[in-house]
């Protein structure tokens, strides 16, 4: 396994290229300028954002800075809902930010993370690290809303304690280059991992969803479901790797990726990988890319539903399976409405 690239926007030599195995389908160095000015400070946003309707605490970064001007923050979660917002308002320039999240032993928390971009042609880089203490439960939901010419990378390292549970749902709407990466060290020991994502790409938008899970100990569970669609010249990248190390017996790991390719110019690159070095494991992966069912479309239209609305209905149903896995009811309803609106705009 390659050492992960430590992206530093101040140093072009750290910019990954397609020669880096983990970046084969997303050329960061080509998408981003070689020299990135630091985006100027802007006022902190009003509390709220996409998940305003879900009450909870809020930590917001504006152009990579917290309200007290810091580029990094720590979150110690002991329960409840925490909103984490990365708000960008910049024309050109860039920012990087770091957040360390720790979920206390036995605590159950929800993290609602949003990338809310305004302006144009900026470069954003967020790095998160998660530590879940034994028995901790965290559900993380990530929404991206960024300009079509932005470059945005969000990477997370996750370390799970015994019997901990980490559930993640990412909804990517793409940008010039938008990448969400999650690397998980899974100890087994009854810990559970769910990592899902949805991508909805039109225009010339590009989204890259990359995950890597290492099952280091026996008796661990991983379940991954990604569904998405690319229309017009949209381009999706799904890379999922699960490694089951020697001795990680009784691992149960499943990964699925199902996609709809809705135009001749769109592209979907999928690279699911399972490396199994243990015995007595239950592992499976599946990958499909297809088109909308023409007969189903005609059936819906024949009932009076216009073509665009019929397509939105079918695509919503397609990705809906992923959204139903979101546990937090209020957040789930917001994500469902967000996806429905986005699809109506795309069809």
């Amino acid at each position: 396994m390659n050492a992960p690239v430590k992206l530093d926007l101040r140093d072009v030599s750290t910019f990954p290229t397609r020669r880096d195995e983990a970046w084969r389908y997303s050329d960061f160095r080509r998408a981003a300028p070689a020299h990135i000015e630091v985006a100027g400070p802007v006022a902190s946003p009003e509390p709220g954002g996409l998940f305003a309707a879900v009450h909870g605490d809020e930590l917001a970064f504006a152009n990579g800075r917290t309200a007290d001007g810091q580029g990094r923050a720590e979150l110690a979660l002991e329960g409840g809902v925490q909103r984490l917002r990365f708000v960008t308002d910049a024309n050109g320039g860039g920012w990087q930010a770091q957040v360390e999240v720790r979920v206390a032993e036995g605590a159950r928390a929800t993290l609602l993370e949003t990338y809310e971009g305004q302006g144009a042609a900026y470069v954003a880089s967020a790095h998160l690290s998660f530590v879940l203490e034994p028995g901790a439960i965290l559900e993380r939901i990530v929404l991206f809303v960024e300009p079509a010419d932005a470059v945005s990378v969000s990477a997370a390292d996750v370390v799970l304690g015994a019997r901990a549970s980490f559930s993640q749902t990412v909804v990517a709407t793409g940008a010039k280059l938008q990448r969400h990466e999650t690397n998980v060290i899974h100890p087994g020991q009854g810990a559970e991992l769910r990592m899902d994502s949805v991508y909805l790409l039109g225009g010339a938008r590009h989204a890259d969803l990359t995950t890597a899970v290492v099952h280091a100990g026996a008796d661990g569970k991983t379940s991954q479901l990604t569904k998405g669609l690319a229309t017009e010249s949209g381009r999706a990248v799904f890379q999922g790797r699960i490694v089951v190390e020697r001795g990680a017996d009784q691992t149960d790991a499943r990964m699925r990726h199902d996609a709809l390719l809705l135009s001749d110019r769109a592209e979907i690159d999928a690279k699911p990988e399972l490396q199994i070095n243990a015995d007595d494991v239950s592992c499976a992966h599946g990958n499909t890319v297809g088109a909308l069912d023409a007969m189903a479309l005609f059936y819906i239209q024949s009932r009076g539903v216009p073509e665009a609305e019929a397509k939105a209905l079918l695509t919503q149903a397609f990705v809906g399976e992923v959204l139903e896995r979101i546990e937090h009811e209020g957040a789930r309803a917001i994500v469902q409405a967000f996806v429905a609106e986005r699809l109506e705009g795309l069809m």
Binding site: D293, A294, M295, A296, F298, Y299, I300, Q301, S302, R303, G304, V305, P306, E307, E309, A310, L313, L314, Q316, A317, F318, G320, E321
Partner: protein, 249 residues
């Protein structure tokens, strides 16, 4: 009401309908019977606007308005409803959501106000009771896991909610046992009205014992080759298509 004149339809290179003409006046129920491969389903799909069914010559109008140039949803908004021989399964779209979307899309196209949730639910519940359908079934994905009979009842429920002017029933009796057939036929008969026309497309006469037609047409080789009253259907059942088709040729 429905007027079809010299209709020629091809699928790819193959011409299926070869000069079909047919008039169904308002308030009448007409049956179209014919052997397999005669073009019965092609006729129903062409009227509903299925892509790939190319009209090379001819016209089809509903109350004088051309249907063939309209998209399928625009035809539906003008009152065309095709009950599919094999209704599609749409996973992830609850039947109730689908119904409400369709009802309101049609209303919107006609410039009418949307049907509110309480009125819609009340209407659906009443229609479901008539068709002896379990209301909870409507919360499941449309037609997903439905039996053949349940799918056909779902078609009739959609028909009752959408209140079309022209009903096209494509082999509605296929896959139905006698009890389901009776319920479906009762649902269809309840919709007979002076403002509504029906085209009942069927291979077998059995359905016509329950939905008694005003006229019966025999479709063979892509054209109507014989027409008569309900007795023609019984004659066909007794003697088969061969003689009548041969005589017409």
């Amino acid at each position: 009401m429905l007027s079809i004149h010299n209709l020629h339809v091809s699928i790819g290179e193959t011409e299926i309908l070869k000069g079909l003409s047919l008039d169904v006046p308002a308030g009448e129920v007409h049956a179209v019977m014919g052997p397999n491969g005669a073009g019965k389903s092609t006729l129903s799909y062409t009227l509903a606007g299925r892509p790939g069914y190319e009209v090379t010559t001819g016209t089809a109008t509903l109350d004088g308005e051309d249907l063939l140039s309209l998209a399928p949803d625009a035809r539906a908004a003008r009152g065309v409803f095709l009950s599919f021989q094999y209704p599609l399964e749409i996973p992830g779209v609850p039947a109730i959501t689908f119904l409400r979307t369709a009802v309101n899309a049609q209303r919107k196209a006609r410039g009418e106000p949307e049907m509110g949730a309480p009125e819609f639910l009340k209407t659906v519940r009443a229609a479901a009771v008539e068709l002896k359908m379990d209301f909870d079934m409507l919360r499941r994905g449309l037609n997903v896991g439905f039996s053949g009979g349940e799918k056909k009842r779902m078609e009739i429920l959609q028909m009752a909610m959408l209140a079309p002017r022209l009903l096209i029933l494509d082999e509605t009796d296929s896959g139905l046992d006698i009890d389901a057939l009776r319920i479906v036929a009762e649902g269809v008969n309840a919709m007979r009205s002076p403002q509504r026309s029906m085209l009942v497309i069927t291979h077998y006469q059995r359905l016509l014992d329950y939905i008694v037609p005003d006229r019966v047409h025999v479709l063979a080789g892509g054209r109507i080759v014989a027409s008569g009253d309900a007795d023609l259907a019984r004659l066909l059942e007794r003697e088969g298509y061969d003689r009548i088709v041969a005589e017409a040729a």
